[in-house]
Symmetry: C2
Subunit: 452 residues, 2 copies
């Protein structure tokens, strides 16, 4: 029987070959799309469905691309010709919330925001906060090692997952990790799964480490600077002053101007850049005032508010970044990350790349943790070679500064050709060989991360 026939015989209506479903499964939010549509989309609703798909896939040597909500930015979840798109988006149950143990056990398809809305009723939250949190799944956040705005203060996904249930390539289910705060039994496979982008197994359950809702106020500081370099130096001064903001976002002149235009606000002074900073917790007001003093001393024009709603209005400019980019053309959103002390140097490199390649690169940065999103803008659906050359130059600059290709979006298809540049050939081979232990047939998301 054909692969499709076997899937249908075992999974019935969960197997979807409608043109719309197949078309959706070809792309994520990166703009990249696979060359051909996949064989089928399977909408798994339970662990057993995932196991059935993997048993059929391993018996027939059929590639499987696991998908959540398809909001990735590296093409890692794009399914192509001859592949099964395995969607876990319908697995949305919260199986347990334990306020005493500060943990929740969830299925992978629940949206980050939906989970946090439920946790709020217990006075709890799961800290990872990718900008996509309203539309991205917890499983996808884990599979990509997603970041967000709050990471410098509240950690990354790796800090917020205690254990995972994983279906292996051949359909077996294993449980990794712990429910306890501590646990060092054998190798830390939970961490290995985080950010593995569907190459090691299918995440079908997650034991999440929760936090209690932070008591106290949220205060917001917005400051404009004459140049983006001044803003970057000022953000470093905040860190150097020993204050830990919850959020510290930097918008360069291009992105600031585009966001103002989108929101119909008066145009900012040409060349000016903005820092938007939030503090939280019992010391929020004291910290906001201290930050305002540092920023003023660094040449900023500073506004402070202790009002949550007014703060949200100030942050709205930052949140308008992605829609603002869409008004300019197609955006290739990059994701380099550097040590915080190198933020100004990285902006210098971006200015150099703009000059030397004749491109404009609007940038927004999570300045608190050194993660920058340079946006390469172009016309049409395909990234032109000239843009990839500029991006290549920028990636190499980030690595030279002690940084990395990707702070929070992952490798997928879009950055696989630079992976060995950062890891070195020896480590690249070691990583690929580890992936082969999980997936000896090479059916898990082939062609992603480790080039086919």
């Amino acid at each position: 029987m054909s692969v499709l026939g076997q899937l249908r015989a075992e999974l019935g209506d969960l197997v979807d070959t409608s043109p719309e479903a197949l078309e959706n499964a070809r792309a994520d939010k990166s703009g990249h799309r696979s060359a051909e549509a996949p064989l089928a989309v399977v909408h798994a609703e339970a662990v057993e469905h995932v196991q059935a798909v993997m048993r059929i896939a391993s018996a027939t040597g059929t590639p499987v691309v696991t998908r959540g909500a398809g909001t990735g930015l590296a093409g890692a979840a794009n399914a192509g010709g001859g592949e099964i798109a395995l969607s876990v988006r319908r697995m949305t149950r919260i199986l347990e919330v334990s306020p005493d143990d500060l943990l929740a056990v969830v299925e992978p398809g629940i949206l980050n925001a939906d989970l946090n809305a439920q946790l709020l009723t217990h006075g709890l939250w799961w800290a990872p906060d990718p900008a996509s949190k309203a539309i991205s799944t917890v499983g996808g956040n884990i599979a990509t090692g997603a970041g967000g705005l709050l990471c410098a203060k509240y950690g990354v996904v790796r800090d917020a997952v205690l254990g995972l249930d994983v279906v292996l390539a051949d359909g077996r289910l294993i449980r990794m990790g712990h429910r306890s705060v501590k646990g060092v039994t054998g190798l830390d496979l939970t961490s290995l799964m985080i950010g593995s982008e569907g190459t090691l197994g299918v995440i079908v359950g997650a034991t999440l480490k929760l936090r209690r809702i932070v008591p106290g106020d949220v205060c917001t500081v917005a400051a404009t600077f004459r140049t983006v370099r001044d803003a970057a130096v000022a953000s470093s001064a905040v860190t150097a002053a020993g204050i830990q903001p919850a959020i510290m976002e930097l918008m360069d002149p291009h992105s600031l101007a585009a966001a103002h235009a989108l929101l119909a606000l008066p145009a900012p002074t040409p060349g000016s850049a903005q820092l938007t900073i939030q503090t939280d917790g019992p010391a929020a007001a004291v910290e906001a005032d201290a930050i305002a003093a540092v920023l003023t001393g660094s040449g900023g024009t500073v506004a402070v508010t202790h009002d949550r709603e007014e703060g949200e209005r100030l942050l709205a400019i930052r949140r308008a970044m992605h829609p603002a980019m869409e008004t300019l053309g197609t955006a290739l959103i990059e994701d380099v990350s550097v040590p915080r002390s190198q933020l100004a140097a990285m902006f210098d490199e971006i200015a150099r790349v703009e000059r030397e390649h004749g491109v404009v690169i609007p940038v927004v940065a999570h300045a608190g943790d050194g993660n920058l999103h340079p946006n390469f803008i172009f016309e049409g659906p395909e990234v032109p070679a000239s843009i990839w050359e500029a991006a290549d130059d920028l990636f190499r600059a980030a690595i030279r500064l002690g940084g990395t290709l990707t702070g929070e979006h992952g490798i997928g298809v879009l950055k696989r050709r630079w992976l060995a540049d950062e890891l070195g050939d020896d480590q690249w081979r070691l990583q690929r060989d580890i992936a082969r232990v999980f997936d000896p047939q090479g059916i898990l998301n082939p062609g992603k991360v480790f080039e086919a």
Copy 2:
């Protein structure tokens, strides 16, 4: 040429075959010792020395046991007949401290306490604080995934390492991880190395994530309870009240009595147990008072001090635990960890094991994170079979309660026979196969963790 001859030809005086060195390399602090002395101890002073040892070892198929200060409690660093003991204890340099990036780059042999003494001059610290911190190395802390007293508030080793330099089995050097706060390039091999107990490679450098020294006071609360169960329930009440102490230690009646005897203090009321809790940071005093109220409400007799020295006097009873155990006989120090909500249930299980096996099991627990150290006391150097039977019963109880064999000491030789019970056979084989990718010849710490 013999292995020893090759080592001497390349490494000269760094190769130590003195009876004392060979004898020392046979044991750690667990009390367990290898059956025979190793071939030699090599005192590596630089990365190149480690690489030379691994090249000779892989060319000749000679097993290598990496050692730091030998303070482990699972026998993981014990070197035996035909093996090379590779000591990195002399590699103690701090290569970089970056207050701006909150990171340090260090060699593996530096003692945790020596590093923290240096960091203090920068207003910084590395949070992992195993009880052995004065005598254990940073490399050993990482290789075992060491825990400590502060973990519930300040995290475990996994949360405090950004990157590692690792010499592979064949002598190649690779650099894993990042200097940036965020980074998701490929698989997270840094996390995989943490707690791998010398089975994957030799850690020769570490990029550590630092914290700023916590400002404010340290307050201490000591409370005695009628029974150990009352104390466990009270500690859960503190967590449930949403207060996060820096330290929350629980001593059962046996350990409390032994510590009092050692310190020549008046004997505690028979059967009584003690909680010793510290709060820190700007809200330390407020939190200490809130904790005191919770403990009083839970039936405790409570003393609070806002004085750091008086607090240290109260903690001295807890710190006397290990020497106190040594006065009772030989101690097999176990290390189970359970979800915090199961702490009282785990004490019930320990009481059952005591009754059913006719043994006395003094226990100290890191109550804030659910990690218990039951001490099995016996005469002579060898663990009697009857003690292992009682320990086996206790391990299985911890796993039943959703816990783990080992919260912070690791598997080594002493717990390898229970590893598959916790992981399941499928995961056990997967972990072992991953180790084989790093070490195809099986020369890295063979017979440890994954049974030979």
